[in-house]
Amino acid sequence: MRLILTALLCCLAAPVTAFDFNLNDLGKTLDTLKKVNQANTDIDEPKEIELGSGIASNLLGAAPLLKNNPVQKYVNQVGMWLAMQTERPGLPWHFAVLDDNDVNAFAAPGGYVFVTKGLLAQINSEAELAGVLAHEMSHILGRHYLNAIKKGARTSLLAEFAGDAMQQQGANPALTKLVNAGTEVYARGLDKSDEYEADRMGVVIATRAGYDPYGLPAVLQTLQGMNAQDASLALLFKTHPALSDRLSLLDKIMSGQFDDYENQPAHGQRFMTVMGKTGILVNRR
């Protein structure tokens, strides 16, 4: 009897010790998790803008601004009007055309949106431009790049960046590291799900702004029809889901949802007038 009791006690005791040990371990894990969480959530809006401004500067280091005031102004007018229809109208929104023949567009955290001259050359109307800008803005609204950067960065680096006082003079080494790591994300691309979400949000934002809802799908359709061998499409293709998949998803979700907005203006003429004298549209198909 006594033997059985001892055996039972042993059986009972063993899990208890194990539990004790686990609790300790769990405590440590929770601590680490808490730190990670703090670091993640602590990139507030001013920090987001600071990070995005560094990335924007890097993108401008790779491709210069198009030297054409009327075009830059026009893209900012369309962009700002779109921004006013979003949940983050107060961000310092900046829009710019890059003097680069690659067909692409980029968004950096905090409100920076870039579109290349090469992409403008494939666009037919203001509604199409609005669709492209709204897609990029959605990456900012959804903090897609910010989350991708956070996912790839060391916790200690994030904590250092988040904890640093912004008004510190001189270079913040953590900021520089995060900015450069962040710029690399543009060579890899975002998750497919982020791109699909930006498509879904983009068509809605353009429609809210009073444009023909089909601007973004029209651009995607144009790009899908381009020669896939074209090297100017290589980075866009590498960093985005297949255009046919994006078009099929838009086909599904837009069907029947936008009938009330069918007659909103596309402003093909206004777009062509601004682009007319620039030579941007010269090389179009």
Binding site: A63, Q85, T183, A187, Y214, D230, L243, Q264
Partner: protein, 163 residues
């Protein structure tokens, strides 16, 4: 009034795709006019080849076997259905870069451009950042810009992902 409407309608039709070939990716109604309740001229089977004439919002005016009509634009893809376009995967564009020497060897350091190399070894341009600020417009400016284009804002919720 009627001529004004017709004029506006004509303005909203974009004919930039004129003459391009496309094909249907699903069974598609060919409509007499760009409206859902317009008369259906015929049903185009999947992979029908069509010539695109113009776009108006979600509709494309097309020509198929000498019949002109309108189909939903997203039922179309440009190109030739029989030539399976590998471009959609982007792989051929990448292979193209690779076969022409690879972007790594063609882009030397110091050459600007939105190449992977330049994005991996970035150099900031603070001067351009300053210039960028000059282009920024105020909300008031954006509002009058919208007004001049008769852009009226709508309340509309974001769409959830397709199931």
């Amino acid at each position: 009034m009627r001529w004004l409407f017709m004029f506006l309608l004509a303005c909203s039709v974009l004919s930039t795709h004129a003459g391009e070939m496309a094909y249907t990716v699903r069974v598609t109604d060919l409509k007499a006019k760009p409206y859902t309740d317009a008369a259906t001229l015929s049903k185009l089977p999947e992979k029908s080849h069509v010539e695109v004439l113009a776009r108006k919002a979600s509709w494309m005016q097309i020509k198929h076997d000498d019949t002109t009509g309108w189909v939903k634009m997203l039922s179309l893809r440009f190109g030739d259905a029989t030539q399976q376009k590998s471009g959609d995967s982007g792989l051929s564009a990448l292979f193209n870069v690779a076969s022409t020497g690879g972007s790594g060897s063609t882009v030397s350091t110091g050459v600007r451009g939105l190449s992977e190399e330049n994005l991996k070894n970035p150099k900031p341009d603070p001067q351009a950042m300053k210039e960028l600020q000059r282009y920024t417009v105020s909300k008031r400016d954006a509002q009058s810009f919208a007004k001049s284009g008769k852009l009226r804002s709508n309340q509309l919720d974001y769409l959830s992902a397709a199931k």
